[in-house]
């Protein structure tokens, strides 16, 4: 069902979902290093200062059945408003207020003229870093895949 909802998102929302998801999942250090390199210091006001809380993670019985509560994870969120009125939300995994702030500012800026520049200088490299880490893990997993062969029993 989630898949259907995802597919139904209009392009603008789908794009926003993609960059918010990317920033939420990026490791703190990688994200902040890249963000700080952008020297993006737009003036803004806090609509909601960074606060750390949790999201209750759910699973399904048997992987496919009734939802159940697996346990919580830490999440930090905040909301900013740029001087031109654009609102940006930061929702990130973990407890870094700096990362949430960067995500909210990037979210706001991605809705304006700076979007293209920010996409190529910040989001795309970040996404490539994450993909590279993921791909490396997948290759290591692949190397541990078993190739079965059958021993030939003695011939007569």
């Amino acid at each position: 069902m989630t898949m259907d909802m995802r597919n139904e998102l209009p392009p603008a929302q789908a794009a926003r979902k993609a960059w918010l998801s990317l920033m939420a999942k990026a490791p703190d250090s990688a994200m902040l290093a890249l963000w700080n390199a952008q020297n993006c210091t737009p003036s803004f006001t806090w609509l909601r200062r960074p606060e750390t809380g949790t999201v209750m993670v759910r699973g399904r019985a048997g992987g496919t059945g009734a939802p159940f509560n697996l346990g919580e994870m830490t999440v930090t969120r905040c909301t900013v408003q740029l001087d031109n009125g654009t609102v940006g939300h930061g929702y990130v995994q973990g407890r870094s207020h700096d990362k949430a702030r960067a995500a909210a500012l990037a979210d706001a800026m991605m809705q304006g003229d700076a979007a293209e520049a920010l996409q190529s200088a910040f989001l795309t490299p970040l996404s490539q870093q994450l993909a590279a880490t993921k791909a490396k893990r997948a290759r290591k997993a692949a190397a541990t895949k078993v190739d079965f062969f059958t021993m030939v029993r003695g011939e007569d």
Binding site: K25, V57, G59, P67, N69, G71, A141, A143, V146
Partner: protein
């Protein structure tokens, strides 16, 4: 009963100061950093996250350091911290069929689509101490292969397709939450799974083992065990759509168990389920076996009086923080309680002595 007593402040302060010093240990040995614990004792970190019921590797590593490696103390610290945090939302159920698998094995099918992926496992090691690690670890690069494309399907979905295994029932979108409302018995399966997911690994291991030894035996095969990362998706009210809020590592175990069937219903395998934060293979298999044993009534089996079938017994005793809280409180001052018992025993003894000399024994004091 225990009563408040004053006078221990100085002793307590000094005890805590000494605790800090003992925690640090020999100053000639360099201090452990939280990052070192997170990276190099990751399975300990995983256990603290799973039983602390909070996914945050840095916090779990800090708790392990603070607790001097006492896992239950570390779990206690995480549970206590968790209660200080506001809860923003509940997630969509994680889609484990989309897991990026580090490990994925099946004990039921050799040639399973997606293959048997061993991952970074202790299996097949000889359990011989590696003295090279005592000197220095050194960096070893793991070999790489050609990464698989696409999702790795659940093994049980193949049995499901043929109708050979019982289908899971659907349930409420918002499951009951034992961290919000006190657990009521009988519990339903979602509540049981929540309780088991944060339950003590050792307790669940022993219970699961008891089913294998014959106390409510249910012949479990590990249909599939998979470990890897899944994204967690959450609906954000301000946005009006869901985003992926993070990636978490989980271990999932699906067991294929003894079949049921009757004259009207054809025979089908049944299933048990384990899902745990982090890489926690032993815990997830244990959870699946205990989950399956607890389903005896729903599956029309007999109550054999086994501990693993007894929901009240399992759920009331699997939480190590509840257990240790009650257990350890008996070391706190019970001076008044004990004084009264002491008085009673003395009185009984006096009465017995007196009774030996003269006649009728007095009633024991209440």
């Amino acid at each position: 009963m225990y009563v408040a007593v004053k006078g221990g402040e100085r002793a307590i302060d000094n005890a805590h100061a000494w605790l800090g010093e003992e925690r640090r240990g020999d100053h000639d040995v360099s201090e452990l950093s939280v990052a070192q614990i997170r990276e190099q004792l990751s399975l300990a970190v995983n256990r603290v996250m799973a039983e602390g019921s909070l996914y945050d590797p840095d916090l779990a590593a800090l708790a392990i350091k603070q607790a001097r490696g006492d896992m239950i103390e570390a779990i206690f610290l995480i549970r206590a911290y968790r209660t200080t945090l506001p809860r923003f939302a509940g997630s969509e159920p994680i889609a484990t069929e989309k897991m990026a698998c580090d490990r994925r094995i099946s004990a039921t099918f050799k040639d399973v689509p997606g293959g048997q992926i061993l991952g970074p496992t202790f299996d097949y090691t000889h359990r011989l101490l590696d003295f090279k690690l005592a000197a220095e670890g050194g960096l070893s690069d793991a070999p790489e292969g050609d990464a698989q494309q696409g999702d790795v399907p659940h093994v049980l979905s193949f049995l499901d397709g043929e109708g050979l295994i019982q289908q899971e029932k659907q349930g409420a979108n918002t499951p009951p939450d034992l961290t919000r409302e006190p657990m009521e018995l009988p519990a339903n399966r979602p509540l049981r799974l929540q309780s088991l997911a944060r339950g003590d690994e050792g307790f669940l291991l022993s219970l699961a083992y008891s089913t294998q030894r014959g106390y409510a035996r249910n012949h479990a095969f590990v249909g599939e065990l998979r470990i890897g990362d899944v994204p967690v998706e959450v609906e954000i009210p301000e946005l009006g759509f869901a985003i992926e809020i993070g990636d978490i590592t989980v271990t999932e175990c699906e067991t294929v168990n003894q079949f049921t069937g009757s004259k009207t219903e054809s025979a089908q395998f049944t299933r048990g389920y384990g899902l745990v934060f982090g890489m926690s293979e032993r815990k997830s298999i244990s959870m699946a076996l205990v989950d399956r044993a607890l389903r005896w009534e729903e599956l029309g089996e007999d109550n054999l009086g086994a501990a693993a079938q007894d929901e009240e017994f399992v759920l009331s005793h699997c939480d190590n923080i509840q257990a240790t809280g009650f257990l350890e409180h008996i070391k706190l001052p019970h001076y008044v309680d004990f004084q009264s018992e002491l008085e009673l025993v003395r009185k009984l003894r006096r009465d017995t002595m007196a009774g030996a000399d003269s006649t009728p024994a007095q009633e024991a004091a209440e």
